[in-house]
Amino acid sequence: MARMKFICDSERCIECNGCVTACKNEHEVPWGVNRRRVVTLNDGVPGERSVSVACMHCSDAPCMAVCPVNCFYRTDEGVVLHDKDVCIGCGYCSYACPFGAPQFPSAGTFGVRGKMDKCTFCAGGPEANGSEAEFEKYGRNRLAEGKLPACAEMCSTKALLAGDGDVVADIFRNRVVKRGKGAEVWGWGTAYGSKQAGQPAGGKS
């Protein structure tokens, strides 16, 4: 198996925040921590694009490189996880991450910064799979249940793809080749008429 990867198709993302909600709900993520969020560029102007961002489970993860207590590890499937029992909440990973994935809850005494929290690709953590301790610290382990990340499975437009890197890359490649643009877009010719799509032009009736 290749590595587990996320891809977000900005042509499809409609900024509904369904992925964010799915993640929050599935893992009971505390207030103030967003493992996933939707970033919108050129908001409100032509060419606006949205993209759903979380930990990208980098092949050469900068967070792993800078962690002073070596709390990160990578699973056989390429998912970057961390051990909260080792994390000291220093925040170095937060500075190193180009995606802003590491989050820090203010749940400690006197609002002190807590241990780092981030997207686990729904793969839990080092605790026993499916245990209560794993759920409390890292959230649900959907991969061990034979499922895929909740954010991608919840995505209404299938903009967010998650799974085996080879499979999601094939799906995305096929989509880009087939969907075309302008009048080639699926449904355009049927709805509005298009010479290019072999449909008669619409007129007054």
């Binding site: 990160f72 080092p126 034979g146 299938k158 998650a162 799974g163 799906i171």
Partner: protein
């Protein structure tokens, strides 16, 4: 006034009671592979727990069925 002071003092004194016990660990523990399952009944059907190839096949099938809409509409 005294009651307020007592409340403030109690808040500071008891603040640490909300902390959970922690143990010092030297390096990340070895994680159990996902194909080993959770031991819970809430598992997607179609694969055998502990069998890595069937788990991988299950995830690939689930990705294609759940996320590739071109297999459905075209």
């Amino acid at each position: 006034m005294n009651r307020v002071l007592i409340l403030i003092a109690a808040a500071f004194a008891l603040a640490a009671c909300g902390e959970r016990p922690q143990q010092m660990k030297d390096s990340p523990r070895q994680d159990t592979s996902a194909f080993q399952g959770t031991g819970m009944p809430f598992v997607a059907p179609g694969w055998k727990v502990g069998d890595k190839p069937s788990w991988e096949a299950q995830l690939k099938t689930r990705t294609q069925n759940g996320q590739n809409d071109y297999t459905k509409v075209n």
